[in-house]
């Protein structure tokens, strides 16, 4: 057996060359010949690592080789670079594809949200005092005075500040609905029910006070789309919750990783739609620039288009590829 010092002295030159090529690769200036050299040096370094592991475990030489092979491994087995083409492909098939594959989670999320909505509404309808718990005081006051609270907000702050505040709030709710799925789904369910109850209570209160039309004309433009996004993010959260609770045949950490990276596609896919909704909420929804029915029609149209896009885009390819893959499944 070779001694430690002799081993290091004999191989050190190659290791340093590999380090240098790796640095060069990182800055993106590698020629074909160098790439081949990098590959063969990497392979030899892994051989050295195996040797050091057997004969010199725990020495600095071993740790050095570990470090070297680790960083070389990271450089060589890189995931493909994401380009704009990948973004396009994501919106053409990835995002709608995941949506269709995970329909049942989105449907459950919608059910939970509607449950909250019904709960909030029925509390206020059956027991009017319940509104004091569920609807913020300022909102209750303006509803009692037959004004929309949104007019209130607008007279104080400029419309666009409201829009951005609402948009960032919606982004936070969306992200939270997804991320809190890691708490075994409890966070997601809470977010969905909570938002449902509040919105249900407000709608019921407005209906009781004969303010339904002003409310609908305010939320009609952006509401359908916004709630769609939150429901879909909730579906992503439920996917995560299910993965935590029931990983099936796989080890939990492996299944979590797989489902987490699928679920996040739903959230990332929704982001631009949510930003767009924020713009509508800021500029079209408040005020009387557009008549109520127009806003409601616009809102329904946008949400309809969104769901149609999710249900149909890229489906033809999917059917084809699943037909060709069906033998393997």
């Amino acid at each position: 057996m070779e001694s430690l010092g002799a081993f290091v002295a004999r191989r050190k030159g190659d290791w340093e060359k590999l380090q240098q090529l790796l640095a060069q690769q990182r800055s993106g200036a590698l020629e074909l010949g160098q790439l081949k050299r990098l590959d063969s040096l990497y392979r030899r370094a892994t051989g050295d690592l195996a040797y050091a592991q057997s004969f010199f475990p725990g020495t600095d030489a071993h740790r050095f080789l570990n470090q070297l092979c680790g960083s070389a491994y990271g450089s060589i087995y890189q995931p493909p670079r994401q380009h704009w083409a990948a973004v396009r492909q994501f919106y053409e098939s990835g995002f709608p594809g995941v949506f269709r594959a995970e329909k049942r989670f989105v449907a459950s999320s919608a059910m939970i949200f509607l449950l909250g909505l019904a709960l909030g509404a029925s509390v206020v309808l059956v027991q009017p005092g319940g509104a004091e718990l569920l609807v913020p005081a300022r909102m209750r006051q303006s509803i009692a005075e037959r004004r929309m609270w949104t007019d209130d907000i607008l007279s104080i702050a400029p419309a666009n500040l409201v829009a951005s505040a609402i948009a960032t709030n919606n982004l936070t709710v969306t992200i939270f609905a997804f991320a809190s799925g890691i708490l075994a789904g409890a966070g997601t369910i809470f977010t969905l029910v909570n938002n449902g109850i509040q919105i249900g209570a407000i709608i019921a209160l407005c209906a009781r006070e004969h303010m339904a039309m002003p409310l609908l004309s305010f939320i009609g433009g952006h509401g359908p789309m916004e709630l769609s996004v939150i429901v879909i993010a909730g579906g992503a959260g439920l996917m995560v919750g299910q993965a935590v609770i029931d990983p099936g045949d796989l080890p939990r950490r492996q299944y979590l990783k797989r489902r987490g990276t699928q679920a996040v596609k739903l959230v990332l896919g929704c982001a631009p739609f949510l930003a767009f909704t924020g713009v509508i909420e800021g500029f079209i929804s408040p005020g009387n620039l557009f008549p109520g029915p127009v806003k409601i029609a616009l809102g329904l149209l946008l949400a309809g288009a969104f769901w149609t896009y999710l249900s149909l885009t890229g489906r033809a390819d999917e059917v084809e590829s699943s037909a060709s893959k069906s033998g393997r499944r």
């Binding site: 010092g5 004969f55 010199f56």
Partner: protein
């Protein structure tokens, strides 16, 4: 490598297993604070920069068109969220804070993180932050085997330490031939013993005089069992000769 520090074993296609040292909570927290500080400084300097260019910053902002204003605020909000994922994807698993602390996010198979994994772990900050200042994340890190916060668990990622390891100590030539010759009968040292001696010799400069002498004496005693009492005392008489003896002892013999 201390025995208790968590490690990640990765089987790579080259049929060896890589052992990657996992970064501890301390490293991760400091890296976070550095990043948070950078973001803070970014906003402060952006504010002053705008104030320099535009005499009335707030006025100019309010004077923007509605869409411009909304986009500016949404952009600012997005910066907070995108900073982490953009840095991690472009910086091959390192935000500036992580780079400073020499830690790196990797997938749990040792490969670099992609956009999706990085998005998952960074979106989960909102939960890890609960109920205040990353309490949930810290708790998860304490309880999980590889110091993973909830976002790491969901994304299948973890943080590894990148150590800078010098190989110089293996190459220091033995001192000139004035040291005691090592008899052929002396047993061959194991790699672990050689490593111990070389590591000690590479660090002697950092030791206090007393520790240096005490450890030198202990090592000479341990690896010089063949020495007579007289030789032992003669060696220890001068620090230089004792260390030269150790260096010679660590050298392989034909």
């Amino acid at each position: 490598m201390s025995a208790w520090s968590p490690r990640l074993d990765v089987a790579i296609p080259e049929r060896v297993s890589l052992v990657l040292p996992v970064a501890g909570i301390g490293f991760r927290s400091i890296a976070y604070l550095v990043d948070a500080l950078l973001l803070f400084l970014f906003w402060v300097s952006a504010y002053f920069l705008f104030s320099l260019v535009l005499s009335d910053f707030v006025g100019a902002f309010l004077g923007l068109s509605g869409v411009g204003k909304t986009l500016a605020i949404i952009g600012a909000f997005a910066t907070q969220w995108l900073y982490w994922t953009l840095c991690e994807v472009i910086g091959r698993g390192q935000t500036p804070g992580k780079r400073l602390l020499s830690i790196r996010v990797v997938s749990d198979d040792g490969s670099p993180v992609g956009v999706l994994q990085s998005s998952v772990r960074n979106l989960c900050r909102i939960v890890d932050f609960l109920p205040f200042f990353y309490a949930a994340g810290l708790l998860a890190m304490l309880l999980s085997r590889e110091n993973r916060r909830l976002g790491d668990l969901l994304a299948g990622t973890l943080l590894i330490r990148e150590e800078r390891i010098e190989l110089d100590k293996y190459e220091r030539a033995p001192a000139d031939g004035t040291s005691t010759p090592i008899p052929a009968a002396a047993e061959q040292l194991s790699p672990a013993d050689v490593e111990l001696i070389l590591t000690f010799l590479s660090r002697v400069q950092e030791l206090t005089v007393e520790s240096r002498d005490r450890l030198t004496a202990a090592l000479v005693k341990r690896y010089g069992r063949f020495l007579s009492d007289h030789e032992y005392r003669a060696l220890l008489a001068s620090r230089q000769s004792a260390e030269a003896f150790l260096r010679a002892r660590a050298q392989p013999r034909a």
